[in-house]
């Protein structure tokens, strides 16, 4: 895939060396790189063109030209600009109406509407303490109604039954009636997926919208969408007054340029992002992170959050305390770290969120290999006695032979593990002294992540 935009720009800058300053002429190459990066990230061309005008204006401004590292400065400008477009009014859902607050979902086939309804129901119920009713107006796809029923049950929301021989408008009106009589706060209306050129179906949802007058009309869009995101978003926006966007399948490895296109065309804020099929996977939208992702700069912040969610807080605090003291990081901690890494979706899952430089270094390893290597390392550590784990210096030749035999590996592998552990220990010491900056440099010294895992 695409290399890091920063790297590519750095290369362009190299060719510019010797020229005293950036001018309109020689900045063109850099802007071209930016353009390509955006296109590869599936940002729609009209949006890219628009953006390039704005970026160029800024790029010629003092902050880039005067900078010692124009490449980085330019990336900064681009990132800011992207975040600006996608962000702005970071809006939450609007409930300022007489209950029930009706939320209508619309989108293409397979965008993830029904799953999102389930996630939203769970979110509203648990985070906002709302009483939620769901109803499906998808009378076309077999078992679509059953799917919503199952999802609603999982989310703990009430489900209003409908059947495939009813009209969508009738179903929705009956559901509203039910919600009013039972004093429910929110009604989530799921609809069938439709393509924008199908006038009949677009008409149907227009009528549905007119009949139920929802306070929120959410456009559910797949983050993997390509160039056509603009047309789709425009068509839906013309048919319905969209009040917000839900970006789904963000856990994939697409760059998600569609987010930018959709926002640009509809002007509707991106209110939520969906990850995974579990009903907990609904997050708020963070424009800066999305901008980094589109530019292939990784999503460190989400990584940190994910880590926070997966990691046992007490264990983390203990470790932090150990680190602060600058010693005491032993093989037990090492093992625990690996367990936690696995909880977060394995090393490969981590790598996806890393900036491209790291990801590239990691790509040299075989996919899946890190997991295997990790299992091996765990096996080796499990073959040590508790005393050995907390004091690895004990381990000399005879113990090594015993450990190797116990784990079913060669003695060399035990040696390698101990070496790596030592390096890691050093790194941890640096961390406690010099903070994250030094840690990163330490990582660089290890030739990316390669040195960290044996047999990679």
């Amino acid at each position: 895939m695409l290399d890091n935009l920063t790297n590519r720009l750095a290369q362009v800058v190299k060719t510019l060396r010797g020229q005293a300053r950036l001018t309109e002429d020689n900045i063109a190459d850099m802007l071209r790189e930016v353009r390509m990066a955006l296109l590869e990230a599936d940002v729609a061309l009209p949006v890219v063109k628009d953006l390039m005008v704005r970026i160029k204006e800024k790029a010629l401004g003092q902050e880039v030209v005067g900078s010692l590292t124009p490449g980085q400065a330019l990336v900064g400008v681009v990132q800011q600009e992207l975040a600006l477009i996608m962000g702005g009014s970071q809006a939450s859902l609007n409930f300022a109406t007489q209950p029930p607050a009706i939320i209508l979902m619309a989108g293409l086939q397979g965008a993830g509407k029904t799953t999102t309804v389930g996630k939203l129901a769970k979110y509203l119920k648990e985070k906002q303490r709302k009483k939620v009713l769901t109803v499906s107006c998808d009378v076309y796809r077999p078992a679509a109604i059953a799917q919503l029923q199952a999802v609603s049950a999982q989310a703990g929301a009430e489900f209003f039954p409908s059947s495939a021989d009813q009209k969508p408008v009738d179903i929705a009106l009956a559901a509203i009636d039910y919600a009013k009589r039972h004093y429910l706060d929110v009604l989530l209306v799921d609809t069938a997926g439709r393509i924008t050129i199908d006038e009949q179906m677009m008409d149907e949802i227009r009528q549905l919208h007119a009949a139920i007058k929802p306070i929120e009309t959410l456009f559910v869009v797949d983050a993997m969408l390509g160039q056509d995101a603009v047309n789709t978003a425009r068509a839906f926006n013309e048919a319905l007054p969209l009040t917000g966007v839900v970006l789904t399948k963000l856990d994939g490895d697409s760059r998600g340029g569609a987010a930018l296109s959709v926002r640009h065309v509809t002007g509707a804020p991106i209110k939520f992002t969906g990850v995974g099929e579990k009903l907990g996977g609904l997050d708020e939208f963070h424009p800066e992170r999305m901008a980094s992702r589109i530019l292939g700069m990784g999503d460190i912040l989400s990584l940190v959050e994910e880590a926070r969610a997966a990691v046992d807080e007490k264990a983390a605090l203990d470790l932090a305390e150990k680190l602060r003291k600058g010693k005491g990081f032993d093989l037990n901690d090492f093992k625990e770290q690996m367990g936690q890494m696995r909880k977060m979706g394995g090393l490969s899952g981590l790598m996806d969120k890393m900036p491209a430089q790291f990801a590239q270094a990691a790509a040299q390893m075989q996919p899946g290999a890190p997991e295997k290597a990790m299992a091996r390392v765990e096996g080796i550590i499990n073959s040590m006695t508790p005393a050995e784990r907390s004091n690895p210096d004990l381990i000399k030749a005879a113990r090594k032979r015993r450990i190797a035999a116990g784990a079913g590996v060669q003695v060399q592998e035990v040696n390698r593990l101990l070496n790596q552990f030592e390096q890691m220990q050093k790194m941890m010491k640096q961390f406690s002294k010099g903070g994250i900056g030094k840690l990163m440099r330490g990582l660089g010294g290890l030739k990316g992540m390669k040195g960290m895992m044996p047999g990679g």
């Binding site: 086939q109 397979g110 050129i197 969408l225 856990d251 697409s254 995974g276 394995g346």
Partner: protein, 330 residues
């Protein structure tokens, strides 16, 4: 997904029609489906003389069709060379040259699926969430039935709510047996289905799987296991491993193809939802960087709209060089 059922009358009528009639209408449907692209390409190619501006417009059009930066640049470089070398003058000539290159690029993908040599012939489907796997299985089942083959489906999507019901209900409507289990392991469902097919002397077994994103490593391992278990049930199988791609998806389609190929060894592709407004230029990107036989493309909701891929037909429809006039009519 599956909204083609809203026109539940249409499939019935087409199944009855002999092979000849749909042929022409298929082409027109393909054109209709791709009308947006072809009209925008058409406007580029009007009677203008070739100049840098025209080429730039063409670049934009190709990019917007999701061809991807690399495939677009290759095509353009080639066109530029032809322009100078063959002294092309009009836009029309340029269009012919582009068509020629596209056909050359896409022809290697044109390998229809031949159900032959094995009984049961085991087809496994894979893809990301919402690509249209279950829908495609339905359409394929009808396709094979119309060729007089018996079909058995394995509801291997044991994860998504009501995915099993979707397939079972579809099977009931269309007289196709569906093997399903309550919850459990997709690989076990596949194994059962293959054993059942052997016992009943079924011609084609199609194994559905749950949608998964390539980043979900454990799920990618699960699907690799499904494949291994199929192999256990039938050592020669699976005879075809299809990846279903959503035609609306952008450059991520390539990443999907690579990941699934690594996990289960993709032998063919289905590209769905090409009828929306998307253009499926990603086919060109695939042909350029990771060629795999493109077995079927879907350009509509009707059952007859899932059809074998033909490079020249597709390019004709895309660039509207054919003279059927159907594209203009739409």
């Amino acid at each position: 997904m599956f909204s083609f059922f809203k026109k539940s009358e249409t499939p019935a009528e087409t199944v009855a029609t002999p092979v000849e009639a749909p042929k022409a209408s298929w082409l027109s449907r393909l054109k209709a489906g791709l009308a947006r692209t072809s009209s925008s390409l058409g406007s580029v190619f009007s009677l203008r003389k070739i100049d840098e501006e025209l080429l730039e417009d063409l670049e934009a059009t190709l990019l917007m069709a999701d061809c991807g930066v690399e495939a677009t640049q290759t095509l353009l470089a080639e066109l530029r060379r032809r322009w100078k070398h063959d002294k092309l003058e009009t836009g029309e000539q340029l269009r012919a040259a582009l068509a020629e290159h596209l056909v050359k690029l896409l022809t290697p993908l044109q390998q229809p699926l031949v159900i032959d040599g094995h009984k049961p012939y085991i087809i496994m489907l894979s893809g990301v969430n919402g690509a249209g796997k279950t829908t495609s299985i339905g359409k394929l089942a009808r396709h094979f039935q119309s060729q007089g083959k018996s079909v058995l489906l394995a509801a291997g999507d044991t994860f998504r709510a009501a995915a099993r019901e979707q397939l079972v209900e579809w099977g009931n409507r269309n007289n196709v047996s569906v093997i399903a289990q309550d919850g459990g392991d997709p690989a076990a469902v596949a194994f059962d289905a293959i054993s059942a097919a052997k016992a009943r002397g079924i011609d084609v077994v199609m194994v559905d799987t749950a949608g998964r994103l390539p980043t979900q490593l454990h799920l990618m391992e699960e699907i690799a296991k499904v494949r291994r278990v199929i192999q256990k049930a039938e050592p020669s199988g699976p005879h075809e491993v299809l990846l279903v791609l959503d035609g609306n998806v952008g450059q991520n389609a390539l990443a999907q193809l690579k990941a699934f190929d690594k996990a289960v060894g993709i032998t063919g592709l289905i590209i769905t939802k090409l009828d929306g407004t998307a253009k499926g230029g990603v086919i060109a990107a695939i042909a350029r960087t990771h060629p795999k036989p493109l077995r079927f493309i879907g350009v509509g909701e009707g059952i007859e709209d899932l059809q074998p891929f033909m490079a020249t037909e597709y390019v004709d429809a895309l660039l509207a060089t054919g003279n059927t006039g159907a594209a203009e009519a739409v």
